[in-house]
């Protein structure tokens, strides 16, 4: 469980990124952090493994204050896939790239082999095992970035803008991977302003604006609150835009699949 208690954070240049954040994330949840650029999403993520320590207030990961421990030990519990994680590769082969963290965490060699093999298979990267990470395509690099984190099986997986620069196919794959990892009991925290992507996952949404949490609730509730989304510089998902214009048929703004809406429209028009 992760707890934020009145967390404030100010960057050295004076920018107040978090202004009193209170938050509880249970294990096994899928949570999406949404909000405009500069709302504080990435800053919040960096607090999860102690890369940033709160200016005031505190962050507890399974009851441990992040100020009292190291980034390395917190990282075993919380794996963060950064937005530009594909710019951080350095190993000659993909195998070594994934094994790097496992070596840092001092896993025995046979376990490392098993874990890397599993991660490569899970992310469908087996055929590239001995290739250079720099030769992968954009989507494959993104998957490698995820494989690197999932290899040591952290309880919490945090993803910073996982869909930037990804095509529809990759996004669908990403959703599958997120669901699978969640079914294996992992807590997933996604920072994103890709509303369609989040609407497909339907997680608990934490809406942020200017360093504060402005709304915390299920996707069905947050993503249908059009005025609130506009306040946070987010467009509602297309299906919500559509249903919000169907007032004359007696349909309320709603987050549902297109088939369901089509059936409902047909029924009302009869």
């Amino acid at each position: 469980m992760i707890v934020f208690e009145n967390v404030e954070y100010v960057y050295p240049n004076g920018f107040k990124a978090l202004r009193g954040v209170n938050l509880e994330i249970e294990s096994g949840e899928i949570v999406a952090l949404m909000g405009e650029n500069g709302a504080g999403k990435t800053t919040l993520l960096k607090h999860l493994n102690g890369l940033l320590k709160p200016f005031s207030g505190r962050v507890l990961v399974d009851g441990v204050d992040t100020r009292r421990t190291t980034v390395a030990s917190l990282s075993r519990k919380v794996g963060i896939v950064f937005q530009n994680a594909e710019e951080m590769f350095f190993s000659p082969t993909i195998y070594e790239e994934i094994a790097f963290a496992l070596n840092n965490f001092r896993y025995p060699e046979d376990i490392i082999q098993k874990r890397v093999g599993w991660a490569l298979k899970f992310m469908e990267l087996e055929e590239y095992r001995d290739k250079s990470p720099f030769l992968l395509s954009g989507g494959e690099k993104k998957r490698l970035a995820l494989a690197i984190i999932l290899a040591w099986s952290p309880e919490v997986v945090a993803l910073d803008e996982p869909t930037v620069g990804q095509d529809i196919l990759q996004k669908e794959k990403m959703i599958q991977i997120i669901r699978q990892a969640n079914q294996q009991g992992k807590t997933i925290i996604i920072s994103s302003h890709d509303v369609e992507f989040i609407a497909d996952i339907k997680p608990r949404i934490i809406l942020m604006s200017k360093g504060r949490i402005v709304k915390d609730g299920p996707a069905e509730e947050v993503l249908t609150d059009i005025p609130l989304l506009q306040e946070c510089s987010l467009l509602p998902p297309q299906i919500v835009s559509l249903t919000s214009r169907l007032d004359f048929l007696g349909i309320r703004p709603k987050l549902a699949g297109p088939e369901e809406i089509a059936v409902e429209i047909a029924r009302r028009l009869k």
Partner: protein, 257 residues
Amino acid sequence: MSTILRGLQFYPGKTVIHKLDPRVKLVISLLLMMTAAIYLEVTIITIVVAVEALLSIIAKVFSRWARTVYGAAPLIILVFLLNVLFKLSMPGQSLGFQSIYEALQLAYRLVAFLASFSIFFLTTTPEELGMALTKMKVPYMYTFAFISAIRFTPILAEELQSIIDAQKSRGLELEKGNMITRLRRYIPILIPLMVNVLRRSYELAEAIEVKCFGAKKNRTYLRELKMTKRDLTVLSISITLFTLAIYVKLFVKLNIP
């Protein structure tokens, strides 16, 4: 690291120093450095540093300037130690007061150099520097390379931080171990940094080629540099002072440390 960089980055202001012609500022900085180069006496170097401090106070950038000098302390100590070692390695030398004092003089001179750089870059935008160099008939291609290097330093510093963050999140511990293992730990940080720098320079090259970089030999500017009366006065004062410094060096026998 970032404090030094901040002291070498333009800091906007409306002071007399900011408004000076960049060529004059360049000349003043070079003259100050040359003064520090021809003298080794601690007293004279102190005077040079004091003049630089005064300039930074007039330009209202003193705290940033001071932090740069302070932040460079590790580098200066390294130069000092290297000099001591070098002196010791020469035949017939032993570690005495004289050799330590000489190493100290050389390290101190570096402070004057760095301080002079800092005051110049704190009060001059990269564009102004570019215009100054173009006026001085430096080919624009070289000027551009130099300006972009200055421009990209802060971005590089930011990128370095995000790489460190990412690798720390993968369990990399930079603080532990002895000197050699510590250096080895920097490999996962330096390789991505270098790869990104190369990639960015290719991208920049393509981007400027698309915008017809180098299509015309002579470049024109919206705002042309012009020497004013004030610029000329400041320039002549500094040249006079420098001439005095050379005169004293050549013909006056100084009896100061």
